[in-house]
């Protein structure tokens, strides 16, 4: 399976994060969909994604709550990871409590993001 076949959804209220992550993951060959709020998320909710990267602190809701709904109510099949600059301990706890697949830290930078995503999706 090539990277281009892999669809990634990024949910973040920061337009900068969305632009930078779309550019980096797109450059690595992934098909990236970026949404900045709940309305945007509703608009793409019927599509399927191999990986969702979900920010935690957003103005309308907490990302881990949204992710829990996607995972448990909407039965989203792909992997869901939190993607935030909160501390690793807090992210691990939130991901575990919401029943998600894990977390990626914004504090590790873009290069680390691309390599982690690549390894997650080629497992």
């Amino acid at each position: 399976v090539t990277a281009a076949a892999r669809r990634i959804l990024v949910v973040d209220d920061s337009e900068i994060i969305l632009a930078a992550v779309t550019d980096a993951l797109g450059g690595a060959g992934f098909a990236v969909t970026a949404v900045g709020d709940l309305a945007g998320l509703e608009a793409v909710a019927q599509q399927s994604f191999d990986l969702v990267l979900m920010d935690v602190q957003m103005p309308q809701l907490y990302g881990d709550d949204v992710a829990a709904v996607l995972r448990h109510d909407r039965r989203m099949a792909g992997r869901i990871y939190l993607f935030s600059s909160l501390s690793a301990d807090e992210l691990a706890e939130r991901a575990r409590d919401a029943g998600l697949d894990g977390y990626l830290s914004k504090n590790d930078g873009l290069e680390a993001l691309v390599s982690r995503v690549t390894s997650i999706l080629t497992d």
């Binding site: 337009e15 602190q57 103005p59």
Partner: protein, 482 residues
């Protein structure tokens, strides 16, 4: 590699974020219980932290981490924080704005980011330690003031850089940033010191009466105006040194007569200004300080080695330590408030020193010296081709008009010359000479004499920002431009 378009958008969005952060912080400082700005602060700082990391602005990201630490501590204290803490938050925000504004690929000469971060860590540690009672309150206040002074010094260089950047490109946002920074670093206007010191005369007379001592008080104060921190240090010094003289130096009349002295003691308070230094002396003709006693006390407190050969200067320094007190001097004068330790800390915070000259049996002379360069100086003023900003040089430099060939274009030399600013052949050269140093600067025309008032100075910078005949301009240090 992140596309330049995303980086540029990041810079624009982030500067707006910093504006929101600054406004929210200012709102909390006046209304600490308002939940809305507290939420804004937390959210904007957090988003900026994530953004800056992802686009690779590591210096902004580092400051964001520190800002989050400061904000978390402020939240725990329900936003009731001191002036130094407020300044650290404000400066962290403004530093980030400068870092975001700087042209890509350029260095902001003089910004010492690790040093500033270290200062923030100091403020954080100090705030966390605040409730620990091991240090007298006044000394603690002045320790923090010293830290604030260090932050100001670092920020001064940033303010000069920003002013120079404005000469190149005077955008409204840069102008607002300059105005904001200027408020932080520009010296407070000087106030006359005389009234602050002479008001202690009445209190001193009352105290002498209470103590049953006959004293002639003499106040002889030069009519000078100095910045508020120096006024405060001198004020505290006169209050406590005079009390100390009355309480511990001056003997009761009968003791004086037995010692062959006049029954009426003399306490003399004198303030003189010369060569950019203020000198306050408080002299009494009392019993003097018993330095053998000071030495014994120092050894007993573990501050001195019993076998060391310690001079009077070193013993004198002990008198200004918190909690140090003998029969001759008291750090807390008979329970009337704070004492010599606070004087020592206030004088140090104002950049000065205290010395004591003892003459056992004859009296004591305390000397406080504080550097206080006059803020207004006589200057030679000119304009360079291509700018309306006035340029000035201290009138201590001799000046003559010479041909322009080979003259230094000041804006080019400072790295802010725009295209076409060096117009060959235009204008005249001004040769500035002092001692063995001689520098020829390019000018649009002949110079005039005017006065300049220092606004922002930084150690080692080739220019200061000054108000020159009412207009902000550059006070040049020609030796640094040569």
């Amino acid at each position: 590699v992140i596309p330049e378009q995303i980086i540029n958008r990041f810079r624009v969005v982030s500067i707006e974020r910093l504006d929101k952060l600054e406004a929210a912080w200012a709102a909390l400082m006046s209304l600490p219980d308002d939940p809305a700005p507290a939420a804004t602060l937390q959210r904007e700082a957090h988003t900026l932290k994530g953004d800056s990391r992802v686009v690779g602005y590591t210096d902004v990201n580092l400051l964001c981490h520190k800002l989050e630490d400061l904000l978390e501590l402020a939240r725990q204290r329900r936003y009731r924080v001191g002036e130094d803490f407020d300044l650290a938050v404000t400066m962290a925000i403004r530093f980030m704005a400068i870092l975001l504004r700087k042209r890509i690929g350029t260095e902001l000469g003089g910004i010492d980011l690790p040093g500033f971060v270290h200062q923030i860590d100091g403020v954080l540690a100090e705030t966390r330690r605040q409730l620990e009672p091991d240090e007298p309150a006044m000394a603690r206040t002045y320790t923090r003031k010293t830290e604030v002074a260090a932050i100001r010094a670092r920020v001064a260089q940033a303010a000069i850089d920003l002013f120079l950047e404005r000469l190149r490109d005077d955008r409204p946002r840069l102008r607002r940033a300059w105005v904001a920074l200027r408020e932080v670093v520009a010296p407070a206007p000087p106030e006359p010191v005389g009234p602050h010191l002479s008001k202690h005369e009445a209190g001193a007379r009352a105290l002498a009466d209470d103590l049953g001592k006959q004293v002639e008080l003499r106040f002889d104060l030069a009519p000078v105006a100095v910045p508020p921190d120096i006024v405060e240090a001198l004020d505290l010094a006169v209050l406590h040194l005079v009390r100390n003289a009355l309480d511990h130096g001056v003997e009761p009349p009968r003791v004086r007569v037995d010692a062959g002295k006049q029954p009426t003691a003399l306490v003399d308070v004198r303030l003189i200004a010369r060569d950019g230094v203020l000198e306050l002396t408080v002299t009494d003709d009392g019993r003097g300080i018993d330095f053998d006693e000071v030495r014994d006390r120092g050894i007993a407190l573990g501050l001195l080695d019993a076998h060391a050969d310690v001079g009077v200067d070193e013993l004198g320094a002990l008198l200004f330590r918190p909690g140090f007190s003998t029969r001759a001097v008291a750090t807390d004068v008979s329970g009337r408030g704070v004492g010599l330790d606070a004087v020592g800390a206030a004088v140090a915070a104002a950049g000065g020193r205290i010395a004591v000259v003892p003459e056992p049996g004859k009296g004591t002379r305390w000397t406080v010296t504080i550097p206080s360069a006059p803020t207004r100086i006589a200057a030679t003023v000119f304009r360079a081709p291509g700018t309306d900003t006035p340029l000035a040089v201290d009138a201590g430099w001799a000046v003559e008009v010479v041909p322009a060939a080979g003259a230094i274009d000041v804006l080019d030399a400072l790295g802010v010359g725009g295209p076409g600013s060096s117009t060959n052949g235009a204008g005249v050269g001004l040769r500035f000479r002092r001692g063995s140093c001689s520098v020829v600067l390019l000018a649009a025309g002949r110079p005039v004499a005017a006065s300049a008032e220092n606004l922002v100075t930084a150690v080692g910078a080739p220019v200061s920002i000054a108000v020159i005949d009412g207009v902000e301009g550059l006070l040049l240090h020609p030796e640094a431009l040569a």
